[in-house]
């Protein structure tokens, strides 16, 4: 009795197995599968903390600085970007010493020119910013510049005169930004940028030096241009996803309609190879 049941079980289960095999054999193999995986890319806000200013602060007693930035991805290539910060620096010149301090903001856009593999979010950006700062200057101490050394043979002429600090100075400039951001860990980026600024407005107060502007760095006399840089650590806050877009590839033969077909097939097959 027992054996009978056992045999029945084995034979039926074997039958079941074979039937499955037959099913598998019947399925056709598609040699040109359609790309059914959606190529979604993450969009969100990247928050950038300036590292270079904090490092400078550690190295230099006469400097404090802080900068926060953010960029928001609007499509495959373009980002809205902004920074705001605060800097205080004491500048030592041969005959005088002054402290400049103020806050600034920069707003503009970046275009990412790095063609990422799917799933990577590195950036090599070219961007432009409009920047504005309000700052103040405080002359700490000064000597009179005097080429005649009759009364003070050893030094420039010291004085105990002082000048009142000047507040409410403002400067505006346009900035060209070349930046790099690379993903260290998931959602955490290390970046840096070099910026060339062109002053469009710069308050010159009578009787006061104004050669260092927060956010802009050194101002050279008779020149509108300046340069600054930063290193950043960023965190990406993912907000939504959008399908990936591809740059249109130019057809080598300008045949009507050929361009669109070429671009899609070439790139898609390329990205699919990578996924496999």
């Amino acid at each position: 009795m027992k054996i009978k049941f056992m045999l029945k079980f084995i034979s039926s289960s074997l039958l079941l197995l074979f039937s499955m095999g037959v099913l598998a054999q019947n399925q056709t193999i598609d040699l040109s599968p359609k790309d059914t995986l959606s190529t979604q890319e993450t969009y969100g806000i990247k928050i950038n903390i300036d590292v270079s200013k904090k490092l400078l602060e550690l190295k230099n007693n006469d400097y404090t600085g802080f900068e926060l930035g953010a960029d928001f991805r609007i499509n495959q290539w373009w980002y809205i970007a902004a920074e705001m910060g605060e800097e205080t620096k004491t500048i030592f010149e041969d005959t005088y010493k002054y402290t400049a301090s103020g806050s600034y903001f920069k707003i503009g856009a970046d275009i990412n020119n790095y063609e990422n593999w799917y799933g990577m979010y590195s950036m090599i950006t070219l961007g432009i910013r409009f920047a504005h700062t309000t700052h103040s200057q405080q002359l700490n101490e000064f000597d009179f510049y005097n080429s005649d050394r009759y009364w003070n043979p050893e030094s420039f002429d010291p004085t105990n005169l002082s000048l009142a600090p000047i507040k409410g100075l403002s400067s505006s400039w346009l900035e060209l930004v070349i930046g790099i951001k690379t993903e260290l860990f998931s959602h955490i980026y290390l970046g840096g940028s070099v910026r060339i600024g062109m002053l469009v407005a710069h308050d010159q107060m009578l009787n006061y030096p104004n050669n260092w502007v927060p956010g802009f760095n050194n101002v050279t006399e008779n020149s509108k241009f300046g340069a600054n840089y930063n290193y950043t650590l960023s965190y990406l806050i993912p907000l939504f996803e959008k399908p990936r877009k591809y740059k249109k590839e130019k057809a080598y033969f300008p045949v009507e309609g050929a361009e669109a077909v070429n671009s899609n097939t070439n790139y898609r097959s390329g990205s699919q190879n990578f996924r496999k």
Partner: protein
């Protein structure tokens, strides 16, 4: 092609960053000196040369450089005022002789008093002093100078005569 363009921009920006600044040498200005002209007391328009004039700062042991060559048929000196104080005192010695480091001659002591304006010139120069409200005190009895006239009480440059001395 695009990559080369970016490299170019990057190299250019580094060039700007590392280029030295041109405004490191002060050529834009200097603290002005006081220009004194010597004139004949009897014929007031005529410049007159003091004989063997020596100028010595009070409490100083070095003589001031001798008379500057004049460009206007006059006899003029440029004397530095001390920007660290509100007054500067000088001995004006005519017919001076220096024998065994002892100065003798006709002695006049003049004290120049003024207020000081710091004037910012440029990044390299910083501040120079301009002097305002110049006044002159004769601290010892008059000797060879008959009259002192202040032509310009504010000393912002040294191109024109600030003080005329008649003798």
């Amino acid at each position: 092609m695009q990559k080369i363009a970016y490299l170019g921009i990057l190299a250019f920006s580094l060039l700007i960053l590392s280029s030295c600044e041109k405004d490191d040498i002060c050529i834009a200005g200097d603290t002005p000196k006081l220009r004194i002209g010597f004139y004949d007391y009897n014929a007031r328009e005529n410049a007159k040369q003091p004989i063997d004039l020596v100028i010595l700062g009070m409490d100083k042991s070095t003589l001031l450089n001798p008379m500057i060559p004049s460009d206007s048929n006059g006899f003029e000196v440029l004397i530095p005022l001390n920007p660290s104080q509100n007054n500067t005192a000088y001995y004006f010695v005519q017919n001076a002789s220096l024998i065994n480091e002892v100065l003798s001659g006709d002695l006049e002591a003049l004290t120049f008093s003024y207020s000081i304006d710091p004037v910012y010139i440029s990044k390299a120069c910083g501040y120079i002093a301009n002097y305002q409200e110049l006044s002159i005190d004769r601290t010892i009895d008059p000797n060879w100078i008959k009259e002192i006239s202040i032509e310009n009480a504010s000393i912002t440059d040294e191109n024109q005569i600030h003080v005329k001395i008649y003798f």
